[in-house]
């Protein structure tokens, strides 16, 4: 019986980026995340997919505590992460860690690897044998101990990311958010990092929220996938199901554009849907279903009413008028 480790309930995060006029009468709001709900079970990897403006990074940053939600809640093992005004307690910070996309900027260029990994140890662990622990952490990510003296610039991109992972592991967390951990890296080292993450998950019973735009990678990493568009979730399914039987037109569109390297993969892709037009800016979200301007299956109702999430099969939900009561293609 697996329990839920992270529960996101109707999360909303809006940013006010300016005002419509000099008198500040009306704020201009970006609805980066506009009501999403999902759960992550202990030990599982939930994938979050979306293009720019989808809000996936905002979800990550809010979960880690960089932002406070505008509405809704995020709970970790039942405990609200944003209780009280004083900020997250250290005990919770320990449990939830993050690995950012660009290791070049997530590691302080003026600190040595030793100092970088030592920081979480100093904060969360009382014991004094830090040297030993640092060596252990480096070993976990398959880096030699003499890397301690080096500065981040002396390491390759993959190695830097491994240091970032070691740092995240240093607090002995239960949950790690991986925000596009390999997007900035070359494909020949990507695999090593991904397989390392999978092994670490096994060894330490970690749960992951894995964010990426690379659907082929997602196929191999996540057990469940959620796809976001302009701040809302369109579809959630188990990974194999998601790729085998996508319901939402946006999912189909994305899947049909994946560049693949072999004929067998080509056959798995849905029929090619050419996306027309631009991704709307999150400031100007269209009324009704936010995808209707680009949707090849648009119906009259789509520009008026925002669809709600319905369950098609067990564990496979989709938010689209084609499938809910009103559209009626069930």
């Amino acid at each position: 019986m697996t329990t839920d480790i992270l529960t996101v309930t109707d999360l909303k995060k809006y940013f006010v980026i300016g005002y419509s006029d000099i008198l500040r009468r009306e704020p201009i709001t970006v609805k980066a995340v506009d009501g999403i709900s999902f759960t992550v079970k202990e030990g599982e990897t939930v994938g979050l997919v979306g293009e720019s403006g989808s809000g996936k990074s905002t979800v990550a940053y809010t979960t880690i505590g960089m932002y406070r939600p505008t509405a809704g809640s995020i709970s970790f093992r039942g405990q609200d992460l944003f209780e009280g005004k004083k900020g997250r307690p250290l005990a919770l910070k320990k449990e939830i860690q993050i690995v950012f996309q660009d290791p070049g900027s997530s590691l302080n260029p003026r600190r040595t690897i030793k100092q970088i990994i030592e920081l979480p140890l100093k904060i969360h662990r009382r014991d004094e044998n830090r040297q030993e622990q640092i060596v252990q952490l480096l070993e976990m990510v398959e880096l030699p101990p003499d890397y301690m003296q080096k500065y981040p610039q002396m390491l390759g991109g993959g190695e830097k990311q491994m240091v970032a992972i070691a740092r995240a592991l240093a607090t002995d967390p239960s949950f790690i958010i991986l925000d596009e951990p390999t997007s900035a890296l070359d494909v020949s080292i990507q695999g090593k990092i991904i397989n390392l993450l999978i092994r670490l998950q096994d060894e330490f019973h970690l749960s992951y929220l894995f964010i990426t735009h690379d659907l082929s990678l997602m196929r191999n990493v996540a057990s469940r996938v959620a796809i976001m568009y302009l701040g809302k979730i369109c579809e959630v399914a188990k990974a194999a199901e998601f790729f085998r039987n996508p319901y939402h037109p946006y999912t189909q569109m994305l899947l049909s554009s994946i560049p693949v390297v072999s004929e067998e993969e080509e056959k798995l892709k849905p029929k090619k849907i050419i996306s027309t037009g631009e991704i709307p800016s999150p400031v100007n979200i269209p009324t009704g279903c936010s995808f209707h301007l680009r949707c090849p299956e648009k119906m009259a109702i789509c520009s008026r009413v925002d669809p709600v999430m319905v369950e098609m099969e067990e564990g496979h939900t989709v938010r689209c008028h084609l499938y809910d009561q009103e559209g009626g293609r069930r």
Partner: protein, 297 residues
């Protein structure tokens, strides 16, 4: 599992490598080397003035009317002034005042200005930021020389009070500089990582952000030496800094101004000394900036 006891210092070869790399970047421009040599020479002359100057006693109370107003010759390379003191020796001692002024002012200004800038920058958007930066703005709005003059004239004119005056109007520049750096750096992902890890604000400001500000601060300090020295000399020139008979460079220029243009050497050589000193620090500062610049390729 192996446990290796590693000393925290970098192995020798790494330090040499770092020095070598930094020298490479510094020395691309020969002007920087000239600047460095000039500054080193001046420091040497200032420190060892009593032993290097041909007539060290001329720097103090000394009178020799027999040799007064001698034009530059082999005995007195830069000539003598109206009281018979050797200008060259006095310039060496004058360097002491100039360098002292620069060093003391910066030693006070940097520990005040930099932390203020860091705190304001990290807390950008809050009332703390507003308070600190508006105070900074007020100080910056007053014309520097006038403020220095005002302060120095209220207090007894001497080197110490001139330094106080310059200090009071110099710290805001560092706050401004560091504020700009810190407010950008605070959005970097390594700061977010440190916050996610639970680091204290103190650590983030001084342990994460400050190390990334060191380079521009050092470069500015070098260029500031030139400015502070110039400012100090200006104060001495108008009588508010180093008082005669002490051999401040500005004081010497002022002292000889009545005797221009016939006994030109009395004012011109101290003035040239100021120029050389200021130019040296400027070139050195340029070189430091090159040295700290990130490597391409």
């Amino acid at each position: 599992m192996t446990v290796q006891a590693k000393s925290p210092a970098l192995p020798k070869s790494k330090i040499m490598d770092n020095l070598g790399r930094n020298w490479y970047k510094f020395s691309r421009n020969s002007m920087s080397i000239i600047g460095l040599c000039t500054v080193l020479l001046v420091v040497f002359l200032a420190v060892f003035a009593p032993w290097v100057a041909p007539y060290p006693e001329h720097a103090g109370k000394f009178v020799d009317f027999a040799n007064a107003s001698t034009s530059p010759c082999r005995r007195y390379l830069f000539g003598t002034d109206v009281i018979g003191r050797d200008i060259l020796s006095r310039i060496f001692f004058g360097f002491r005042f100039s360098l002292t002024m620069g060093v003391v002012v910066l030693a006070v200004v940097v520990p005040i200005g930099v932390p203020l800038g860091l705190i304001a920058g990290y807390n950008q958007g809050t009332w703390l930021d507003t308070v600190i930066m508006r105070i900074t703005d007020i100080f910056l709005a007053v014309p520097p020389l006038i403020l220095a003059l005002a302060i120095a004239s209220v207090l007894t004119p001497n080197l110490t009070n001139a330094m106080i005056a310059v200090t009071l109007m110099w710290w805001p520049w560092y706050t401004r500089l560091v504020y700009g750096l810190a407010s950008t750096l605070r959005n970097e992902f390594f700061v977010s990582s440190a916050e996610a890890l639970g680091a204290s604000k103190f650590h983030i400001i001084f342990g994460e952000i400050l190390p990334n500000c060191i380079s521009p601060i050092f470069t500015k300090m070098s260029l500031d030496m030139a400015w502070v020295i110039l400012l100090g000399s200006s104060l001495s020139f108008v009588g508010l800094g180093v008082q005669p008979p002490k051999p401040g460079l500005g004081t010497m220029v002022a002292g000889g101004s009545d005797y221009l243009p016939e006994q030109w050497w009395i004012s011109v050589f101290p003035a040239l000394a100021i120029v050389v000193l200021v130019l040296g620090f400027n070139l050195l500062g340029d070189g430091l900036r090159d040295m700290f610049a990130a490597e391409e390729v």
